[in-house]
Symmetry: C2
Subunit: 214 residues, 2 copies
């Protein structure tokens, strides 16, 4: 009955997909677009990734593409956010095991390994991450993800060492997660054997106790 002018679905978050379409067929196309985007990135790298490639491979027209995603960055952002979510789950799981101060170091080591293995299992994650680094809006998405990770670490430490001042803890957590990410991103550029060496070396630099925080 409504005579409204075809109200275009609005993007809920900057850098991400528009509101999920209601019809079944639409949702399939939405996933198809993301799947093709992933394939293309894996094959040609983040630099050569073009909207026209998606049109060609997925069979979805330009106009339709832009009904699902407000712009190119949104496609990359949606892929990135999915992988970030996987990473957050890893971290949550590994930090859940922390029930005493001496559990912290092993947990951080496990996070390092989890992250490295995630990149090894799906090398395209690296391309997706690189693509996010090329765009200001997407950089903020990654920064937000890092903030969440940092918060998770803070929570875990607070659980086993309630006395640590909040500001000190935030500083420590943000730095630690930043360094873990940097070390892993460095490692994945190396052949596996060297990578293992680097990560082992890195683990010895991670804090063994909470002495410096109390």
């Amino acid at each position: 009955m409504a005579r409204r002018k075809a109200a275009p679905v609005v993007a809920p978050l900057p850098g991400l997909a528009r509101l999920a379409p209601t019809q079944q067929r639409s949702r399939e196309r939405f996933e198809r677009i993301l799947a093709c985007a992933t394939e293309i990135m894996a094959e040609k790298g983040s630099e050569a990734f073009r909207m026209s490639d998606i049109v060609e491979r997925s069979g979805v027209a330009f106009g339709s593409l832009y009904q699902y995603f407000p712009d190119k960055a949104a496609i990359i952002g949606t892929l990135a956010e999915r992988h970030n979510a996987v990473g957050r789950d890893c971290v949550r799981r590994d930090l859940a095991a922390v029930t005493a101060p001496r559990d912290l170091h092993p947990a951080l080591c496990r996070i390092v390994d989890s992250y490295y293995e995630m990149f090894m299992r799906e090398p395209v994650v690296r391309d997706i991450w690189q693509a996010t680094q090329a765009d200001r809006g997407l950089q903020k998405l990654d920064a937000d993800d890092m903030a969440v990770l940092s918060g998770l670490l803070s929570d875990a430490i607070r659980r086993v060492a309630p006395g640590v001042p909040a500001a000190t803890l935030a500083t420590f957590s943000a730095l630690t997660m930043t360094l873990i990410a940097a070390a892993v991103r460095h490692a994945i550029t190396l052949p596996p054997k060297k990578a293992r060496q680097v990560l082992m070396q890195f683990k010895t630099m991670l804090p063994n106790d909470l002495a410096g925080l109390a």
Copy 2:
């Protein structure tokens, strides 16, 4: 009245400027282009940086621009390489002070501070660095720079601890320089007070001795 077909000057290195022009006036224009590029990046950020901006501000025509630089990346690359060179000098200077194993940790701390201060003194360096991250060719330039820095650290350590195996040393140096860069890049996103805290925290994580290497 020219007759011969103008032999175009050829690029000596990928990602960098073409061969330096011979005439005085040309060299001035070359510098003028770089100066304008720096200004524009400082004002509008690396994302909004356009060739047409340079044309407008510098008064150099498109055709001339492309006589000095093979492409847009080359302008960014040339700026980046200049700043990388400054950074390498800092590192060289700070590492020159290492004459005994116990000098290493203070030297690494000084490198951290030097890097942080460089970014604080010239915030545009951050924009330039971000621009390099958006381009595969320029990423390689930065990777090469990191390799040089890593080599400098290796040399310094070898001087005071000749027994360390080469492979171990290379791994350690590359990781250490990577972490320093990551920590500083993290710090510059924070307000100065927090940044100092983070960097102080980070310094405590840097290796105090060479026990793990011998």
